[in-house]
Point group: C2
Chain length 431, copies 2
C-alpha cells in the first residue's frame, strides 16, 4: 500500500448511482400500518413523504441513478477524502493500518447532507414548498436547512430540547441557512403539548421530535416530512460514502477487513458498509462489520428485535427492528444523534443474521478517544463519531496484542466544532 | 474554462518550496532596533525567535525549500480546494466568474496552520520546548496549539479578552489540542498588569497580547515566541496558497484578473497574491490586488506609512508600515483577526507603491454578505473572510453593471463555525 495520507477523487468521480442493498437481500419483513397492522403500501406514506422517495423506499433495483441536480450539489463537498490515520497509528504504536472516510468536510460538518440533498430535490420536483423534520444534535437539521435553501424550500425543524440547550451554536447554523427551529417537545403541536403535559421537564427524544414533525407535515398544506436516518431510502443515499471509499482503496493499493461506523438509526454505518457488503454477498471478500452505539442508548446490544413505532406518539408505521421501545428515554448523552430508540430495518436484519456485530461505548471513554484523535490527527470529532473511533482503537490495539496486520476503515461521520461545550464538560471532570 | 465546481490537487502536488517575494523586490527599509533605532540585525531577534525562522525573515533567496516533516503535515489538509462559487454567481446574476481558495478545510478552520507548522518545526529542531503567542479571534491560537502538539511542544496563548469572551468555543479548541490559554491583558505578565492598571476594562488588543507573549518568551527558559502574521517569514509560508491556486487555475483552464483577501497583518492576502504578483513583476500578467480591511481598524485606508512598533508595550522592533499607532484601540468588531493596528512591511511597501489597493468594509455589511454566501455556497464564513467576500461581490456587481467578463479570486481564509454568536447578534439586530 501507499504511504500517502489522503486519497482524493476528482469531482467527476462522484458516484452516478446509489447502491440499493434490498436488491441483494431476501425480502425483509414488511413495515406495518400503524392502525390496521397490515403490511404498509407505498400509498400509505404519501401524506408525509414525496412520491419519488417512497418509490426508493420500496425499490428492489440494485442501482438507482443519482439525479444530475443532486450530483451537482454533491460536488460542492464530495468525493470526501479517504484519510490514512498515520498520526493515530503512531500514537497507538499498532501494526494495524487505520483509514477513515472524512465526512466532516461537508459544509454542514457531517454525512447528513448526502441524504438531505436528494430528499429536498424529490420534494421540490413534486411541487412541495415546506419541509419539516426532527433533529438531535443538529447535524441533520443543519443539512436539511441548507438542502432546502438550495432547492428553494422552507424548512421547519423540531430539535430535541436537550440538544437545543446543550448546543446553542447548532441552532444558529440552521438559522444562518434559513431554517426555523423549535425546541422539542414544544407547544406548537398537539403531540408536543401532550408530551409536556406528561412530563414538563422532559429533555425530549428523537421519537418525540419525529411525532411533532410528522404532525406538522400532515396538518400544514403543501408540506412533507423528511427523516435523517432509519429508512431504507436514507441508507440508499448514504451509500455514496462506501462507493467512493472502494475506489479510494484502489488508489491506496490496500483493502479493509474491518469496517466501523457509529450507530444512531444506522445511516452512516450503512453508508460506509453496504457497498463493501455487496462483495461479501458475491463471495469475493469477508469483513468484520462493527456498529458502535452508545451505552446510553444500546438498542443493538440490549434491545430486542420486534415491530415498533419509529416515533413516540405512534404516528409512524411499525418497523421490524431492534428497539428499546418507542417511549424509551435515553441517557442525556452529548451524542444527540445516537439517542434513538430503534435501528433501521435493513441494519436490524443484518444484525439478526449475524452479518454485522455491535459494541456499545460509554461516554467518558468517547471523549477520551476524541481528545486523543484531535491531538493525533488535528480534527476534533463529533461526539457521535468518537464511538467509531473508540472501536477502531480497540481493534487496532487487539491487532497489536496479536501481532497481526489488520486494515481498519471507520467513518468519521462529522466534526465536533459545535459540540465543544461537551469537550469542556469532559475536561472539567463533569461527564 | 471548465464548469467543474472544485479543483483538487493530489497530495504530491503540495508545493515543495515557498516563494520569497523579497528576492524580487528592491531592498525594503530595514526594521529598527526598539532601543537603539539602528537597523535590526538577525542576532537581535534571537531572544524571541528560532534561528531558522530569523534566517527566513532576512532571506533574499527566491525559493525556500519546505522541510519534509512540514510537507508531510501539510498533506493532512493541503492542497486546499479551489472552488468555483457557482451558487454565489447565480445569486448575483453576474457575468463575472468567481473562484475562492477554500482554506477553511484545514482542521483548525483557517489558513493559519500553513505558518504554524513551520514555526513549530524550526523551534523543535533547535531544541525549544515551549512556545508563546498571542491570538485575536483564536484562529492562530488553535493553529499553533495543534502544530505544537504535532512536534511535541507546549504552547501558551494570550488571547485578546474581547475574543476570549465573545468566542468561548475557540478557547476549548485550543485546550482540546493541549494549548494553555490566558485572557489578555491579564495578570501573569508585567505588561499585562500595566495595561490593566491603565484601563481595567480594556477589551484588549493584538498589540497588548503580543507584548505579553514576547515578555513570557524572554523571561521563561527554553521558550520562544511565534507570530501568526505581519512578518516576512509568515508571508513566505502562506505562499503555498497562491502557488496551489496557480496550478488549479491551469486545471480550470481559466485565469484570475482580480485577487482579493481580507487583511489583518497581511498574511492571508499575501499568501494568495504574492505568487501571482511574481508574474506581474515578470511582465506576464497584471492583476487588480485588493486588500479588504475592517472599517473598525482601517490601517491601510486611514493609517499612515511610518516606523511603528508591532506591539503596544514597544518590545518589538520598529517596522516600516502603514499603522494607526501601536496604542490604537480598534472597534470591538467580531473579526478579531483584523483588529491589528499595523500592516506587515512587505504588504505596506506594495500599498505605498500602488501595486495593491485597499478597501474597508463595515461590520453589518460583512454579516449580510456572510449570510448570503452561507446560503449560496453552504459554507458559513469567518467574520474575517466576509470582508473579502464583500469586496468580491462589489467587483462582481461592477462587472455586471459594465457588462464585462471578469475573473475574481478571493481567499476564504476560514469558516465561522466558532463565531456563530456573532451571526446570532447580527440576526437579532444587535450589530
Amino acid at each position: 500500500m501507499k504511504t500517502t495520507r489522503k486519497f482524493l477523487l476528482p469531482d467527476h468521480q462522484v458516484p452516478t448511482a446509489w447502491y440499493n442493498v434490498l436488491a441483494d437481500l431476501p425480502t425483509l419483513q414488511p413495515m406495518l400500518h400503524p392502525q390496521t397492522k397490515q403490511p404498509l403500501q407505498p400509498v400509505h406514506l404519501e401524506p408525509i413523504f414525496a412520491k419519488g422517495l417512497i418509490e426508493q423506499e420500496f425499490s428492489k433495483e440494485r442501482w438507482i441513478e443519482i439525479p444530475e441536480e443532486v450530483r451537482t450539489l454533491y460536488k460542492i463537498y464530495r468525493p470526501s477524502p479517504l484519510v490514512r490515520a498515520s498520526g493515530l497509528e503512531k500514537a497507538l504504536d499498532t501494526p494495524a493500518r487505520i483509514y477513515f472516510k472524512n465526512e466532516s468536510v461537508s459544509p454542514v460538518g457531517s454525512h447528513k447532507l448526502n441524504t438531505a440533498l436528494p430528499q429536498a430535490y424529490y420534494n421540490k420536483i413534486e411541487g412541495i414548498q415546506h419541509l419539516t423534520t426532527e433533529t438531535g444534535a443538529g447535524q441533520w437539521g443543519s443539512a436539511i436547512s441548507i438542502a432546502g435553501k438550495h432547492f428553494g424550500l422552507d424548512v421547519e425543524i423540531f430539535m430535541v430540547r436537550l440538544s437545543y440547550d446543550q448546543k446553542p451554536y447548532r441552532k444558529i447554523v440552521m438559522q444562518t441557512y434559513g431554517g426555523q427551529v423549535h425546541p422539542s417537545p414544544g407547544t406548537t403541536t398537539e403531540a408536543g403539548r401532550r408530551f409536556l403535559a406528561e412530563n414538563p421537564d422532559t429533555p425530549g427524544t428523537l421519537g418525540m421530535a419525529i411525532s411533532e414533525a410528522c404532525e406538522r407535515a400532515v396538518t400544514r398544506p403543501n408540506t412533507k416530512y423528511t427523516l435523517g436516518s432509519v429508512l431504507n431510502m436514507v441508507m440508499l443515499h448514504q451509500t455514496v460514502i462506501g462507493l467512493e471509499a472502494e475506489r479510494q482503496f484502489e488508489m491506496a493499493d490496500d483493502y479493509p477487513d474491518t469496517i466501523i461506523g457509529c450507530f444512531g438509526g444506522g445511516s452512516n454505518f450503512g453508508g460506509i458498509s453496504l457497498p463493501f457488503f455487496r462483495h461479501q454477498l458475491a463471495g469475493k471478500a469477508t469483513f468484520d462489520f462493527i456498529a458502535a452505539e452508545s451505552s446510553g442508548c444500546p438498542k443493538l446490544t440490549k434491545g430486542t428485535f420486534r415491530y415498533d413505532h419509529g416515533d413516540t406518539a405512534g404516528l409512524t408505521p411499525l418497523i421490524p427492528m431492534y428497539t428499546l421501545g418507542a417511549d424509551y428515554e435515553p441517557d442525556a448523552i452529548h451524542a444527540g444523534g445516537l439517542r434513538y430508540h430503534g435501528a433501521g430495518a435493513i441494519m436490524s436484519h443484518l444484525l439478526k443474521e449475524n452479518i454485522i456485530r455491535a459494541v456499545d461505548v460509554e461516554q467518558r471513554r468517547c471523549f477520551e478517544v476524541g481528545t486523543l484523535f484531535a491531538r493525533a490527527e488535528g480534527i476534533i470529532p463529533a461526539p457521535e463519531s468518537t464511538h467509531a473511533i473508540a472501536v477502531a482503537i480497540d481493534e487496532a490495539l487487539k491487532a497489536k496484542e496479536e501481532g497481526k496486520e489488520k486494515v481498519i476503515l471507520f467513518n468519521l461521520s462529522g466534526h465536533g466544532l459545535l459540540d465543544l461545550s461537551a469537550y469542556e464538560a469532559f475536561f472539567n471532570g463533569k461527564l
